[in-house]
């Protein structure tokens, strides 16, 4: 018991001293981490036009680096996410957005899945209910021992 106590105490002291004496705490990579995080969040929904299968956040292409810088500048100037999106689509079209905008042309895209669930489950319900009302002779007879 005492051994445990001493050991823990020493580890704690060592831990603290490493925290105090040790090491300079590394500076954040960017001057404003919160802004940087916002920039990355926006960039991760924008498509890199050069490599085309990565986001601007992940791509190493020069254009991606330039566009990230552009987004950063716009955020520093106080622009909203919406304004930044509009800036990008004015220059590159909707292609640059990984989140397709909701427009008449994309209505089917956005509503489709929910509609399919409703239609699918609805159709299943109707079919099953209709079946449950059919006469017994439409079905196969039960085996006496098969129900689990």
């Amino acid at each position: 018991m005492a051994k445990w106590f001493v050991r823990t105490f020493l580890v704690a002291i060592l831990g603290c001293s490493m925290g105090i004496a040790g090491a300079n705490e590394a500076a954040p990579a960017s001057a404003d981490p919160a802004l940087e995080a916002r920039m990355m969040a926006i960039s991760s929904e924008l498509r890199c036009l050069v490599c085309q299968n990565q986001t601007i956040a992940d791509s190493h292409a020069e254009l991606a680096v330039d566009l990230r810088a552009q987004v950063r500048e716009m955020l520093q100037a106080g622009k909203t996410d919406q304004q930044i999106t509009e800036y990008m689509t004015a220059r590159y079209g909707d292609f640059v957005l990984y989140r397709p905008p909701f427009k008449p042309a994309t209505a089917l895209l956005w509503i489709g899945p929910a509609a399919m669930v409703l239609i699918g489950l609805g159709a299943l319900f109707v079919v099953l209910r209709r079946r449950s009302r059919l006469a017994a002779d439409q079905f196969e007879p039960e085996d006496p021992d098969s129900i689990a």
Partner: protein, 176 residues
Amino acid sequence: MKSLKFLIPMGIFLVLVLFLGAGLKLDPKEVPSPLIGKPAPTFALARLDDPTQTIRRDDLLGQVWMLNVWASWCVACREEHPLLVEFAKSKTLPIYGLNYKDQPAAGQKWLSDFGNPYQASLSDRDGRVGIDFGVYGVPETFIIDRQGVVRFKQIGPITPEVIRTKIEPLVRQLNG
């Protein structure tokens, strides 16, 4: 009829095949320009050959002109360049160059090595004007009309066929 519903999978599939077939002729990587039919972005850039002089978008109003985006580091531009030099001789329309993300010295050397079809080249060192024009791959070429509206964009090198079938007819039409 009850049996008709069994044809639904087939029906949906055939429609799908039609679209997939159509898709074979398209290029999923090509990004059409949203600028067509809209005013060209404003710019004010230094001339490549004389940095003390600035050319603005509005300086170029009143004429039909071509903007060709190029760079000395761009391999595909070398392919296109002789064609442009030749085309410039026909004086169909004035060609201005946008020297995109390049060192002015390198750019000037490239022009002196390979010929200069441009009335003037503009120095876009940080690529901002390129971004405003929606440039994503060099070379790219735009045609802008008298009112400063973008009418045409070519992504990738210009070919003789593009000149013949698209550029020349368009310029004739825009010139009235």
